[in-house]
């Protein structure tokens, strides 16, 4: 498998990268981890005229919390950095649950969270996770930066709302309003498989009460699904059985799966409900144990 020809640029600064993107006029692609883009080029599903390799730009490999709790993931933060971050489970439990489930261990050493969200594969895990957390992508263009909610960022299958001259600089999870809890469950048939279904649930508690909730769904629609209505069902209540059941139902309703070789539409909906229930029931148990 041999990729097509392209022009290669490896800028040292974000500004240079943006200038190159501008020159590319929509025909340039950013190369970060390359773990989705390069295989697509090898299969000749993608043939960008120019690749702008951002791996030489210093200062983009960070991840961590600001003093106020805002969590930032730089464009060159690899999946493995998150997987191995010891404080992630405490700070970002949903991300911590998802990190080891991305692709396979070797792909995780190169692939990036920001790149994965930009790739906007409906089967990508990070977009659902970020969506559940109310996260945003920070895009930088010739005229400065703007922040786009992940829920709005993904425009469709393999489509995002970045302008041709914008570079996704970082992903941002807003500071929590309460104590974070959450998880990610993925039905995969083997390591490295795309999700048959993935469910991300992110909660913030104020005491026993859910102060904020988000649910993101992977692989059950033409793009990542933000099951906002289902999540809203949990807010303002302690995580009781009734609320869990209603949230699970609503999440299943929000999903728009298709029957394929991974399973039927009905099965996938059922898994959405099952996973929402499992995550929330486990969280309830944990809370009860703590209390």
């Amino acid at each position: 498998m041999y990729p097509p020809r392209f022009k290669y640029e490896a800028p040292d600064t974000v500004e240079q990268a943006i200038e190159l993107l501008r020159q590319g006029q929509g025909e340039a692609k950013v190369l970060a981890g390359g773990q989705s883009l390069v295989p697509m080029m090898k299969l000749r599903f993608a043939a960008p005229e120019m690749l702008i390799d951002i791996n030489n730009i210093p200062g983009l490999a960070y991840h961590g919390a600001d003093p106020d709790g805002t969590y930032r993931i730089g464009a060159l933060c690899r999946h493995v950095d998150l997987e191995k971050a010891e404080d992630l489970a405490e700070q970002q439990p949903t991300m911590a649950a998802a990190a080891p489930l991305i692709a396979d261990p070797i792909v995780r050493t190169r692939g990036t969270l920001v790149g994965s969200v930009c790739h906007a594969d409906p089967q990508g895990d990070w977009a659902s996770v970020m969506s559940s957390l109310g996260g945003s992508i920070v895009a930088q263009g010739p005229n400065g930066r703007r922040s786009i909610l992940v829920a709005d960022f993904v425009a469709g299958p393999f489509q995002n709302v970045l302008r041709p001259d914008e570079l996704a600089i970082e992903a941002v999870v807003p500071a929590p309003v309460g104590t974070r809890a959450g998880s990610y469950l993925k039905l995969e048939r083997r390591v490295g498989d795309y999700a048959t279904v993935g469910v991300a649930v992110s909660l913030e508690f104020s005491g026993n009460e859910v102060a904020r909730a988000g649910i993101g769904l992977t692989s059950v629609g033409a793009s990542t699904i933000n099951a906002g209505e289902a999540a809203q069902e949990l807010v303002g209540d302690d995580l009781n059985a009734g609320a869990i059941e209603r949230a699970a139902d609503l999440a299943a309703q929000a999903s728009r799966p298709r029957t394929d070789h991974r399973g039927s539409e009905a099965y996938k909906r059922h898994i959405v409900a099952t996973f929402v229930t499992r995550i929330l029931s486990n969280l309830r148990l944990t809370i009860q144990e703590v209390a």
């Binding site: 020809r5 290669y8 490896a10 295989p39 690749l51 396979d104 792909v107």
Partner: protein, 184 residues
């Protein structure tokens, strides 16, 4: 391959179609002109004649092409050679010395951790990265770490055994080295 790369001396190039890069592979510096689309795996295999790095699939699943990139395992079929500029790469050929096999290689032999041998270089390099970081892994940790490398022959059981045996060997070697260090 003829047009994709040429070995050159390290002066700047004027050819717009190629990039001049210098890469360290197994401790040796190589300066080559490459077409940007040349995959790292192909530079290593055809350009530098290190054919122990294999290519097995098109989609970044099999891991036969795994090399260490600044000590971290990467699938070399999913990177471009130009991206290796200034980096250090270790391939299977860099594991053994002229006279001695690496303990991981010894253990794969002793525990029958390979049959056709095609996935073996990738498996061993992934194992090396694991053991560099975690000298005493559990069986589950080994299985997890190897889950980006596919094998069709062994059923994995003996590969896992090999990695655990290599870990033990490296630990005891480390202990001996320390003792020797203390006495000398």
């Amino acid at each position: 391959m003829t047009s994709l790369f040429t070995k050159v001396s390290p002066e700047p190039t004027t050819d717009a179609g190629v990039r001049r890069i210098t890469v360290s592979i197994n401790g040796n510096q190589h300066t080559v002109d490459v077409e940007p689309r040349l995959l790292l795996a192909h530079l290593i295999r055809q350009g530098l004649d290190l054919t122990g790095t294999h290519t097995g699939c098109d989609t970044t699943h099999c891991g036969a092409c795994t090399v260490l990139f600044d000590g971290t395992p990467v699938k070399s079929c999913t990177m471009f050679a130009v991206q290796a500029e200034g980096h250090e790469i270790t391939t299977v050929e860099g594991l053994a010395t002229a006279s001695e096999l690496h303990p991981i290689q010894e253990s794969f032999k002793d525990e029958h951790g390979l049959q056709c041998g095609f996935c073996t270089p990738g498996m061993m390099l992934t194992a090396k990265a694991l053991l560099d970081e975690n000298p005493d892994p559990t069986e589950d940790e080994v299985r997890w770490a190897l889950s980006g490398n596919l094998c069709r022959c062994t059923g994995y059981q003996n590969i896992v055994k090999s990695v655990l045996a290599a870990a033990a060997r490296l630990r005891s070697q480390g202990a001996t080295d320390e003792e020797e260090g203390e006495t000398s």
